[in-house]
C-alpha cells in the first residue's frame, strides 16, 4: 500500500504519460498504466486511477487527443494519442528533466565524496 501513497509529482506523471504515448502510439488508460509499470520494472506501482486525472489535464492542455475504439477484450475504450503540441511539450520537458536530474545527480555525487 505504501506505493499507493508514493508521491509521484503530478508533472512527472504527466510527463511519463506523454512519453509513453509518444513511444507506443495510441493507448487506452489501462494500457498506459501497465506500460508505465512495466518500464519501471514494476518498481513503480501506481494507483492506476491517478492516470485518469493526468489524462484529463493533458487533454485540457491539448497535448493529447482521445478517440473511442475497441479494446482487446472487445469492450469500448477510449484511445489516447499524443498531438503535435504534446510532442513539442514533451521535448521541452524532457530536456528540462534531464538537466534537472543531471544537476541533482552531480550534487548527490559531490555530497557523497564530501
Amino acid at each position: 500500500m505504501a506505493a499507493d501513497k508514493s508521491t509521484i509529482l503530478q508533472g512527472t506523471l504527466d510527463l511519463m504519460v506523454l512519453k509513453t504515448l509518444d513511444a507506443m502510439g495510441p493507448l487506452h488508460g489501462y494500457g498506459i498504466a501497465r506500460r508505465i509499470e512495466q518500464i519501471s520494472q514494476e518498481a513503480l506501482q501506481i494507483n492506476q486511477g491517478t492516470i485518469y486525472a493526468s489524462l484529463v489535464r493533458l487533454m485540457q492542455k491539448g497535448w493529447i487527443s482521445g478517440a473511442w475504439g475497441t479494446s482487446d477484450n472487445n469492450r469500448k475504450a477510449k484511445f489516447y494519442s499524443i498531438t503535435k503540441a504534446g510532442r513539442k511539450q514533451l521535448h521541452a520537458e524532457a530536456e528540462n528533466w534531464e538537466r534537472i536530474s543531471g544537476v541533482i545527480g552531480r550534487v548527490l555525487r559531490i555530497a557523497e565524496r564530501g
Partner: protein
Amino acid sequence: MLAWMQTLVSRMRVWLFPGRADQEFEQELETHLDLLTHENIHRGMTPEGARRAALMRLGGITQLKENNRELRGLPFLETFLQDVRYALRMLRKNPGFATVAVLTLALGIGANTAIFSVVYAVLLKPLPYPQPEQLVTVFEAKPQEGIMGNGWSYPNFAELRADNHIFSEMAGTQQHQLTLTGRGDPTVVNTASVTPELFSVLGLKPIAGRTFLPEEGKPGAQAVVILSESLWRGPFGADPIIIGSSITLDKRSCAVVGVMPAGFRFPAISEEEQIWIPLVQDPLFGSWIERRGGHWLRVFARLKPGVSIAQAQAELDAFSARLAKEFPTENAGWVIRMTPLQGMIVENVRPALLVLSGAVGLVLLIACANIANLLLARATSRAREIAVRAALGAGRTRIVRQLLSETLVLGLLGGLTGIALAYWGVHGLSSLLPSSVPRANEIGLDRFVLGFALLLSAIASCAFGLTPALFAANSNLQASLREGSRSGESTSRRRARNFLAAGEIALATVLLVASGLLLRSFAKLTSTSPGFDVQHVMKASVSLPRFQYSTPQQWIAFSNELLARIQAQPGMRDSAMAVPLPITDGFINLAFDIPGTPPPSAGTSRSANFVSVSPDYFRIMAIPLLAGRFFNAHDNLSAPRVTVISKAMARMYFPNQDPLGKRLTFGFPFESVGEKEIVGIVGDVRDVALGQNPGAMMYVPFDQAPFWGGNLVVKSTLGPSSVAGTMRQVVHQIDKDLPVTDIMMLPDGIESSVAQPRFRTFLLGVFAAMAMALAAIGIFGVISYSVSRRTNEIGIRVALGAQSADILKQVLAEGARLALVGLSLGLAASVVATRFLATLLFGVNPIDPLTFAAVAAILATVALVACYLPARRATRVDPLVALRYE
C-alpha cells in the same frame, strides 16, 4: 495563455454538458476494471478476488469520478451556484431573519449611496471642462488684515494677462442683474460681465453662434451679448434666427452673438447665469476698468501644461511685489494667491459633506454589526448542521465559503434594495438641498455611484459575514454533535456578540452627540438676536436701467417718488429704501479715513460695512438709536454730508471719545468719496450672517448716496399678497417697464440664509435616529437571544425559588452592562470625533457637557427599554416547561 484558454473552453463544455462526460468516464473505468480483472485471473486469482484486487488497484471508483468531475468542470462556479441556491433556500425558510437583515442593510447602503451621490457630484467629479486640473482661481489677499480671497483691480489683471509665463489664458468676471425688456414682461436676468477670454479659459463652445472676440472686450466696441440655452429656449422661444438679432438690456440694445449650452454655469456654478456680456459694456463695472484701486474682479486662469502651482505662485509673488513697489497706495500689503478651481468652488460645503459622509458611514457600520450579530446567533443554532457537514468531509475553507456565499447573497439583496432606496433618497435629497450648494444639478445615480453601492454591499457582506463564518468553521465538531442544537455556546462567540452590541451603542453615541451639537448650534443660530426685527417686513427689489436713469439725481427722484406713493397707500406708511439689506443681500465693505488722525499703522486698516438707507429704515427694522439722531428728509444733496455709525464701530475706532461730530472720509460708488459728519450711533446688527458677530457699520442717507434702485422695505400688517401687489402696482405707475423682483417676507429671507445649517442638522439628525434605532435593535437582539438560550437556567433558578424581580434584575443588569460599556466608549470617542465638527458649530463647545449628558441619558433609557422586553419574557418562564424542554 493559449493553453489556459483551451483549458477553460474544455471545462466550460463539460460544465454545460455534464451528463455525457460522466457516462464516458464511467465507461472508461469499466473497461479498465475489466482488463485489470482479466489480468488478475490470468495470475490465478478467483474471479471475485480478481475483481476486488482490481478495484483496489484502481482506487475508489466514486472518488475517482468525483475528482474527474472537478478536474473537467468548473468546480468553483458550480459550488458557488450551489451555495447561492442553498443560501436562497435558507433565506426563504427564515423570512423574518431575511427581512430584518436585508432591510437593515438596505437602509445603510441606501443612505450611503444617496450621500455619496451628492459627495461625488459636488466634491469628486471633475469639472465639466477640458483638462479641469489646469483651471485655477487667482485672487488678491491682504493676509495681515485677514482679507482672503478678494477680487482684482482691472489694470492689475490686464498687466498680468499681457505678460506672464504661467497661464495659457486668464479671464476676469463679475456678476449682477440687469433688466431685460422688450420680450414680454420686463424681467431681471442674472448677468455675468466677463472679459472675452472666459470662454477660451474654460474651453467650451457655444451651441450656436460664437463667443466674444478679443476686440469686443475693448472700450468703444459694439454692445454684444451671449444667451444661455435656457433663456433662449424660454422667453425667446428657441428663436432660430436669434444670432444677429438684438435684445434690450438696461434699456440698451445689444446684439446676440451666441448661445451657450444649458450645462454651462460660470462663474456662479450654483445659480444659473442667463446672460454674458463683455465687462466694458457693464453699466457699473465698465466704468471701473481704469481704476487701479478697488478689488472686485474675480479672475480665473488656465495653467500652461506642465506648470505647477508652486512655479505659478512664484511668478505671482514676483508680480505682486512689483505692483506694491510701483503703486504702493493701491497695492501695498496685497499679495496674489491661487487655488485650484474645483477646490474653490466646493470650499464652503466640503466640511459639512465630509461630516455627513462620516456619519452615514457609521450608520452602515452599525447596520453591519447588527447583521453580524444576527448571523452569529443563527450560526450558534446552526452549529449542529455545520458539524454534520464537517463530519461528512467538508473542509474548513469549504464551510467558510458556503457561509460567505450566504452572506454575499444577503449583501447583494440588501444592496439592490438599498439602491432602490437611494434612488428615492437622491430625489428627496436634491429637493432638500440648499440652492447654494454648487453643482447640485449634476447629482444623480450614475454608473459611478451605482458601482460604489455594489462595492459597498460586497465589502459590507464580507464585514458582517467573515466573523460568524470563521467562528462557525472553528467550532468544536465533536462537542457540537454531542450537545445537540441547544446547548451553551462558546464563550468567545458570546463575547463577540456582546462586543458588537456594545460597539453599536458606542457608534450611536458618537452620532447622537454630533447631531445634538448641531441641533444646539442651530437653535442658538436661529434664536440669536440679529440686532434688528423684521416681523411683518416685506421687501422688493427695483433696479433702474442705467442707460435710461443715468444720473444720481434721477435715482434720488425715483426713490423719493416711489416712497411718497407707497407711503400714501393705506397701511403702508412704514416704508423705506435700503442698499444692501442685512443677511439677505451681500455686504459692501469700504475702507475709510478719519481726517486729522495719522493713517493706520502698517498692517492695519480701517474698514466698515456700508449701507445707504432712507430715514425711516432704522425705525422699520427696529434698530435702536443710542446717541445723536437718525437721518431725516433734510439730509439731501444740498445739505452737509452725514453718517450714522454702529456701536461696534464707535467702540473700535473712537474708544473713550464721543464720536458725534467727528468726521469720516469714504463713499460708494467711488465717485462719491468725501468727508461725512457722524450724527448718530445705532445698535449693532448681524448684517453678514446670523452666525457672524456684528462688525463696524456706517450708514449714509440714500439721498446723499443714491443707487440705481434698491430694496423697498415695507412694514405692514396687511397680507403679504396685497402688500406685494401694491408694491408692484406703484412701481409700474411710475414706470411700466421696471421689473419688481425678489419680493419676499424678510423673515423668510433670513430663514433661507440658514438653509445649509438646517440641511446638515436635519440629515445628521436622521442618521443619528437611524443609528439609535439600529443600536436598540442590536441590544434587544443580544439580550433576547441570551434569554432564550438560558431558558433552562432561568427555569432552574425559578424552581429554586428566585422571584421574578430577581430574574428581571439579572437580565436588565446584563443589558445595562453592555449599554454602560458602549456609552463610555462612545462618549470617549465623541470627545475626539466632535473636533471635526468644530467649523460647523456656532456658539456651542464641541465638548458641550449638556449635549453629552443628554445623549447619555437618552441612550441609556433606550437601551434599558430594549432590554426590558426580553427581561419581561424571562420572568414569565415556567420552570416546568423550561426543564422539560431540554
